[in-house]
């Protein structure tokens, strides 16, 4: 299967700070999503981004498929951004499974 590594594993930010989360994957993918798992466990869709760049408010994401990585940018962080961020990928070459990354646990302090 595909190995999906996220960094950093843990991150503590002061409210208002910016951050970049990284997702590296070991094989070519045809599906990549970023999710935020809030403290209540709900997985919230952030981006569907197998390639290219997208922006949604304070968040943006870039996937460089040829170099096998994706970045999630959080600007002007808020306490409600706290939780775990997951990158999820699928490779059509190695079956139909979706693989979750190792996650980045973000804590934003006021």
């Amino acid at each position: 299967g595909i190995q999906v590594e996220q960094s950093p594993p843990d991150l503590i930010l002061q409210e208002g700070a910016n951050s970049t989360l990284r997702c590296n994957f070991s094989d070519s993918v045809n599906n990549l999503q970023w999710f935020h798992q809030n403290p209540w466990g709900q997985l919230i869709n952030l981006f569907y981004i197998p390639s290219g760049t997208k922006q949604n408010g304070r968040l943006s994401a870039t996937t460089v498929a040829t170099e096998r990585y994706s970045l999630l940018y959080i600007s002007s962080s808020q306490t409600t951004d706290s939780g775990v961020y997951f990158c999820v990928v699928r490779s059509g070459d190695t079956g139909n499974q979706f693989y979750f990354g190792t996650g980045t646990s973000l804590t934003v302090i006021p």
Binding site: G41, Q42, N45, Y48, G95, Q97, F100
Partner: protein, 113 residues
């Protein structure tokens, strides 16, 4: 419905019992996925349906786990002879198709005593 729903939200059972977990996908979504998330870990893939058929069940841990989707909509994950190690949050997701964005339900927290 507006989103993926899962019932029950919590299930407590005794070791050795049989449990069923239900998932209602977003209307019109042909693909449905089950995942399991243990405490402090990321979700792990269990099984994927495209329509009524299980297109990939390679993530099911053993033959005590089984899932069905008889009419291509609602799915049921069935666990026989539950063990304490089965305790986890079971997540369901759906998408329009395999190449499309997945949307997750709130999960069912299973506790095996």
């Amino acid at each position: 419905g507006a989103g993926v729903s899962q019932t029950p939200s919590n299930k407590v059972t005794e070791k050795g019992k049989y449990v069923e977990l239900r998932c209602d996908p977003i209307s019109g979504h042909t693909a449905l996925y089950w995942y399991r998330q243990s405490l402090g870990q990321g979700p792990e893939f269990l099984i994927y349906f495209q329509g009524t058929g299980a297109a990939d069940d390679s993530g099911l841990p053993n033959d005590r786990f089984f899932a069905v989707r008889p009419e291509g909509s609602v799915s049921t994950l069935k666990i026989q002879r539950t063990e304490r190690g089965d305790s986890a949050v079971y997540l369901c997701a759906s998408s329009r198709g395999l190449a499309n964005e997945q949307f997750f339900g709130p999960g069912t927290r299973l506790t095996v005593l």
